[in-house]
């Protein structure tokens, strides 16, 4: 019988090996799956993992797709470290996008570089403000933040829906639910191709959070409150403070992701601005082992699976369901393999019962 035995110390070796083993296992299972569907497994794997990395165009697309995931995922990693469960990043993304879009929609004439700066600031503020609601409810009334933050996602989405169908609808748009297109002054400048300034902001955010967790007293306080709250209380840290900081930072970053997505990639407000980045980022945070730098790599991996899935649909004629199933398998293996960092497998002879 195989048993799991807790390691005294997390294994350094397995910390590196786990993702490798996971990708190999996923590749093997995927190969069987694709072979059963009558596709060349090697070609499938190449299309999925390698092809997207072989052209400048798709590397840019990778960065575009990973940008919101990294921004949100890094913030969530920090919150989850502190044992604060912000599940509502999707709603904070939407509110950030709305707040930032107020400039191009209400003040389209404001055409100077400062406008863009204010948009980004409003994006941060919008996300943080929306995240402040579950934080307040938690601290003041001990309302479960998982539920309150999640429910507020739907409120935010419906608010956006109402705005673009009503007051913020493009008056020249035949009543269709879209805002005016942003002018060039309100669009994030491109770095290369479709990669916009948001990618750089994501890198800065990851670096900033890394420093915060590594070097700052505040980061230390968050980690302690997450892993040993009683010890933290004795150390003079406060639960309420950890909750506020976690929500405000993760919310602000989600809001920033929202305004970057709208301003950098879409160019106007519309009823749906995110295919669930705020929820996918929860996976990103865990995939990155709740570290901001890990979240960056996890975001890139996840973005790769989206791109690879599309490439496979086209090159191999696979349905989106199959490519999504494979993405699910991959995430499952990666998260499962992480068990080996903290546990070891041991073969145990079943002892005869007397």
């Amino acid at each position: 019988m195989i048993v799991l035995e807790k390691r005294a110390e997390p294994s350094r070796l397995w910390a590196f090996l786990a993702p490798v083993v996971a990708i190999a296992a996923a590749g093997l299972t995927g190969a069987v799956l694709f072979a059963l569907l009558g596709r060349d497994p090697l070609l499938a794997m190449w299309t999925y993992f390698i092809e997207p990395l072989t052209s400048a165009w798709s590397l840019e697309e990778l960065a575009v797709k990973a940008t919101p995931l990294a921004l949100i995922g890094a913030g969530l990693a920090l919150a989850y470290r502190a044992n604060v469960w912000n599940i509502g990043a999707e709603g904070q993304l939407v509110m950030g996008a709305i707040a930032g879009s107020a400039i191009p929609i209400l003040l389209p004439e404001w055409n100077d570089p400062l406008a863009l700066f204010v948009m980004l600031a409003l994006g941060l503020a919008g996300g943080a403000a929306w995240a402040a609601i579950p934080a307040f409810l938690k601290v003041r009334f001990n309302v479960n933040e998982i539920l309150s933050s999640l429910m507020l996602v739907y409120v935010a989405q419906l608010f956006l829906d109402w705005l673009v169908r009503g007051p913020w609808r493009d008056p020249m748009g035949f009543n269709f639910p879209k805002s005016v297109s942003f002018t060039d002054w309100h669009v994030l400048p491109a770095i290369s191709g479709r990669v916009h300034l948001g990618a750089l902001l994501a890198l800065l955010a990851v670096a900033g959070l890394w420093l915060l967790l590594r070097r700052a007293r505040m980061g230390f306080a968050l980690k302690v409150m997450g892993s040993a709250p009683r010890a933290g209380l004795f150390g003079g840290f406060s639960m309420a403070q950890a909750c506020w900081i976690s929500f405000l930072i993760s919310g602000a970053l989600a809001g920033l992701a929202g305004i970057c997505e709208v301003s950098g990639s879409i160019g106007q407000l519309q009823p749906s601005i995110s295919p669930g980045y705020g929820f996918t980022a929860i996976i990103v945070a865990f995939l990155g082992r709740l570290s901001p730098v890990g979240a960056l790599f996890a975001a890139l991996l996840l973005a790769l699976t989206y791109l690879g899935g599309e490439a496979a649909q086209l090159a191999l004629g696979l349905s989106a369901k199959v490519t999504q199933a494979f993405q699910g398998m991959l995430l499952f293996f990666v998260l499962a393999a992480d068990v080996l960092v903290h546990y070891r497998l041991r073969l145990q002879r079943r002892e005869a019962k007397s």
Binding site: E61, W162, R165, N175, K178, P271
Partner: protein, 364 residues
């Protein structure tokens, strides 16, 4: 989902065709590379509604043009940044004719089209065109007038339940057309509208159908894409109309008819145009006459109603009857269309008011 249109590039089409031959000439004499036609769908092809019907159109291209074309598709592409990548991917893998089959792709299509002037784009249900971007849609409201008339005859209570998606002109036009049709045979006919704010959500759609039936509606019609309302109608023993595709297998006793989106004729003609080098940016809005809207067989109704339905269909097809012919008053009683006149396409496309008798308020 949808609206569309327009304008011109013969040279590029010819170039696209010629490009294939070059190197391969020695091995495959005279066999030009097939024209690659790409599609992006907002839903899964298995939705039995909107995306499904577009995919039927794609398959029809392959059937009609054989090895002169090769088609592929990307499904479940969200409207937004992902659509741009999907379109770009189709372009980069050699597709020269690309159909973007949802309204929300509009500005993305234009953006990508600007970068690739040698590729032809077709956008369903939008209203922005460019030299290499056409738009197309169907006059579904013609079908809605017919089902309205059937409902007017078949409903014992004179009350239909209407499951609506989003208050855009397309949907408002459908509600108006349905009620005008129903009132042409039963002047007291009423409808109850429920907005589900989704194009496709079987759970929400079936809840809405149940609510409408419990409020007394004995006929259900929908402007959403799943077959769930039809299944509810079958279960509760009321009538319903199929949407987008023939849903008779989901409601063998409930379906009176269905408004079928038939994209095949348009898709085939556009692919042919590229092959022949005659593709132009156009704005197509075709209905029964163009074969873009089709009615499923009229079932579960007495012969006289069936006869009336078929006559109505014929009258619309031949142009004798326009669903929006005057006099038409709006909810406030203001005369919108005078006796002897019909509503213009421009007014139809931007419709944001209800006709007299709709018991619902438009979100402003």
């Amino acid at each position: 989902m949808s609206i569309n249109r327009r304008e011109t590039l013969k040279l590029a089409a010819a170039a696209g065709l010629a490009a294939g031959t070059g190197l391969g000439l020695s091995s495959r004499v005279f066999a030009a590379e097939p024209l690659k036609v790409g599609f992006i769908y907002v839903g899964p092809v298995g939705d039995h509604g909107w995306s499904y019907q577009h995919d039927q159109g794609r398959q029809a291209i392959e059937k009609a043009l054989g090895d002169k074309v090769k088609t592929s598709y990307l499904e479940k592409i969200p409207e937004g940044a992902d659509a741009e990548r999907a379109l770009e991917r189709l372009v980069r893998s050699g597709h020269k004719l690309i159909f973007a089959t949802s309204f929300g792709y509009m500005d993305t299509v234009l953006k990508v089209a600007r970068r690739h002037p040698d590729v032809f784009f077709e956008h369903a249900t939008g209203y922005k065109r460019a030299k290499n971007v056409s738009t197309y849609s169907s006059r579904f409201y013609e079908g809605r007038y017919i089902i309205g008339r059937i409902a007017g005859k078949m409903s014992k209570k004179g009350l239909a339940g209407y499951i609506a998606s989003f208050p855009i002109p397309e949907v408002i036009r459908g509600i108006n057309s349905f009620l005008l049709g129903a009132r042409s045979v039963n002047p007291d006919f009423r409808i109850k509208v429920i907005w589900v704010n989704t194009w496709y959500d079987p759970g929400k759609e079936s809840d809405a159908a149940k609510v409408l039936i419990s409020q007394g509606a004995d006929i259900i019609t929908q402007h959403t894409d799943s077959a769930a309302p039809m299944q509810v109608a079958e279960e509760k023993g009321v009538y319903a109309f199929g949407q987008a595709s023939d849903m008779i297998k989901f409601g063998p006793h409930a379906q009176l008819t269905a408004i079928i989106d038939n994209w095949a004729p348009y898709y085939i003609s556009r692919a042919k145009a590229v092959l022949e080098g005659t593709w132009k940016s156009t704005d197509t809005w075709g209905g029964l006459a163009a074969g873009m809207v089709k009615m499923a067989p009229y079932t579960n109704m007495p012969d006289d109603v069936k006869k009336m339905a078929m006559e109505t269909e014929e009258a619309i097809r031949s142009g004798k009857l326009h669903p929006f012919h005057g006099p038409i008053r709006d909810q406030q009683g203001k005369l919108r269309v005078k006796e002897g006149e019909v509503l213009s396409d421009k007014d139809l496309l931007g419709m944001n008011w209800y006709v007299e008798g709709v018991d619902d308020k438009l979100p402003k």
